[in-house]
């Protein structure tokens, strides 16, 4: 049975007039990887720094393994952290950098060497012991930083956008590696990112943050398919917001009446949330209800932007074979593929 490793209750932090964290709470069970996802300035890094003890909070508490560590100094928290900026100490080589935390813990030299070697092997840098930071690529530096954070066997691993300074290819490889290591070592991890693909790809659960608040914390699948509010719906993936009238819990979109998550006899104006892949686009001269604006080739699929007769722009994602005949100006018929749709109040 998994128990909660990290518990954060009601954190608040204000910088001048800016509210960076507003009653932020989260629980991370042992061994789980949770991502905090949100736009810049949403407070995710502040939350991480408060958890690490590098920043003071105005309100709230941080508990680690049922112990209140809110006032415990950063160097006594036993948390590993990898930063967005390259943080390897320039005067120490790779081995010495990785051994730094062990040295601070007064671990014997032989034990240090053993653990450093093992950790560098795990991150695939076992031939770079004597190199200095300036002799390593960005990806390698972040691997060393990861090894340095993990070698101390931290209670919690905190990752503060560790991949954002890297090239796309290195980023993808390294994120897979972080996940592999995290599962292998069973380290409870909190990962901060503004890249939703990154968050969705490696997390057990993702917490979407906005204006210092945690909007929704769920598995990537639930977050994508059943967002609880407009912000999450628009921030995670692309979402079409179609204005419609709710009648007895149903809406009519493109001539089709669909049930919604609303029950009973609720009525009124709503926004219907539809993912681009749930919209079918077929060329049609007779029953057309939209016109193609642009078509962009994405590799595996194409993104087609259409404008409905009432002027709403619709994003759709369709396979290349079915988009061959679609060109800007083509008359098309739009249809919803889902059997049920999500709506939010206007």
């Amino acid at each position: 049975m998994t128990s909660t490793s990290l518990k954060v209750k009601g954190l608040g932090r204000q910088f001048g007039t800016v509210l960076a964290l507003d009653n932020f709470s989260i629980e991370v069970p042992k061994g789980e990887l949770i991502s905090l996802l949100g736009p810049s300035g949403c407070g995710k890094t502040t939350a991480l720094r408060i958890i690490a003890g590098l920043e003071k909070s105005d309100a709230g508490e941080v508990h680690l393994n049922e112990k209140n560590i809110t006032n415990v100094s950063a160097h006594l928290r036993n948390m590993g952290m990898v930063f967005q900026a390259y943080s390897l100490f320039p005067h120490l080589n790779v081995s010495e950098n990785v051994a730094f935390g062990l040295k601070m813990r007064k671990i014997s030299r032989s034990e240090r060497t053993k653990r450093v070697n093992k950790m560098l092997e795990l991150v695939g840098l076992d031939h770079h012991h004597k190199r200095f930071a300036h002799q390593l690529s960005g990806g390698q530096q972040q691997r060393v930083a990861l090894a340095r954070a993990l070698v101390i066997e931290p209670e919690v691993l905190l990752l503060d956008e560790p991949l954002s300074a890297l090239d796309a290819q290195v980023r993808t490889n390294l994120r897979e590696e972080i996940r592999r290591l995290q599962i292998e070592l069973g380290t409870t991890t909190l990962f901060v990112t503004h890249d939703q693909e990154e968050a969705m790809a490696i997390s057990d659960r993702v917490g979407v943050m906005n204006k210092g608040r945690l909007e929704q914390l769920d598995t990537p699948d639930v977050l994508y398919n059943r967002p609880t509010n407009d912000f999450v719906a628009s921030f995670v993936g692309t979402m079409n917001h179609l204005p419609a009238n709710l009648v007895n819990g149903t809406v009519e979109i493109f001539g089709k009446t669909l049930p919604t998550q609303k029950t009973g006899n609720e009525t009124g104006k709503v926004n219907v949330l539809v993912r681009p892949e749930s919209i079918q686009v077929t060329p049609s001269e007779t029953s057309a209800n939209a016109t193609v604006v642009t078509r962009s080739f994405l590799g595996a699929a194409s993104r087609v932007l259409c404008k409905t007769d009432d002027g709403t722009i619709i994003h759709s994602l369709i396979t290349n074979s079915s988009s061959d005949s679609l060109h800007p100006g083509s008359k098309v018929k739009l249809e919803i593929l889902s059997r049920e749709v999500m709506v939010t109040n206007v």
Partner: protein
């Protein structure tokens, strides 16, 4: 062709400037060295004047005092300045302007005022102890040491280094000793050089505070023997250079290890 002639004319100009500067720096030195080696006339040379220095009473004692004051000034300076400048860079950014102005003050305030200030402001238990002069040397070295350390820390992601070190279990003292200081080692060395050079040659404050240090002793004994006085000046200059070269060698050895290529 034009490029080459430009390069040559630029080169000629810079070489000329260099030669003129070298001439003004070295000619008096060469002249003084030659003069200090004279023995009874311009044709005979020996180390008699240098021997004379060691025969004067108070040589060892005053040199000892100067070394003691210098060593203390260096230690105090680094103990005060490294943590202060680090703090200014990490979390006290808004006070940087103010500190910059404060560190300039020792250059503006006349030494007489500093000496009077020292006598009234320093706690009485420090009066007439080596610390009295050392503290004053820390003050007059501050404009230089502050700038040396400030330049060393600017442009370095100190905040990230500190956060990483704290996170890995380093106390603030360990952060300063094992991360910050080695990271800015050349600047620490520069601050040390400047304090050493300033303390070794400082005369006015020592004289005003009634201290007998090597520079005040040199001033006294040189009244009697002009050749000896020149030998003393040349001797102290070369010894100071030797000392600073020693520090450079020691310091660069340490910084070179961080640039060691595999």
């Amino acid at each position: 062709m034009k490029k080459i002639s430009n390069y040559v004319s630029k080169n000629i100009l810079s070489t000329t400037i260099l030669l003129v500067a070298a001439f003004f720096l070295f000619l008096p030195l060469i002249g003084a060295t030659e003069f200090s080696l004279r023995d009874g006339g311009p044709d005979r040379h020996s180390f008699r004047s240098y021997k004379w220095i060691f025969e004067q009473s108070g040589f060892k004692e005053n040199l000892g005092v100067t070394f003691k004051v210098t060593a203390l000034a260096v230690v105090l300076n680094l103990l005060i300045m490294v943590p202060t400048v680090t703090w200014l860079h990490i979390s006290g950014q808004k006070y940087r302007r103010l500190v910059e102005v404060v560190t300039i003050l020792p250059l503006i305030i006349p030494v007489v005022a500093l000496a009077t200030g020292a006598q009234t402001a320093l706690p009485s238990f420090l009066h007439n102890t080596v610390l009295e002069l050392s503290f004053m040397y820390v003050v007059i070295a501050m404009p230089y040491s502050y700038r040396a350390l400030d330049i060393g820390m600017s442009g370095k992601p100190l905040n990230t280094y500190v956060a990483a070190a704290r996170n890995l279990g380093a106390s603030w003292l360990k952060v300063l000793l094992t991360v910050i200081t080695p990271c800015i080692w050349p600047s620490v060395l520069a601050a040390l050089f400047l304090t050493v050079a300033l303390s070794l040659g400082e005369f006015t404050l020592a004289q005003l505070l009634h201290w007998s240090t090597f520079p005040t002793w040199v001033s006294n004994v040189s009244q009697e023997n002009i050749l000896g006085a020149t030998a003393l000046s040349v001797g102290s200059l070369f010894s100071a250079w030797l000392l600073l070269f020693g520090f450079t060698f020691f310091g660069s050895n340490k910084t070179d290890s961080s640039k060691d290529k595999e």
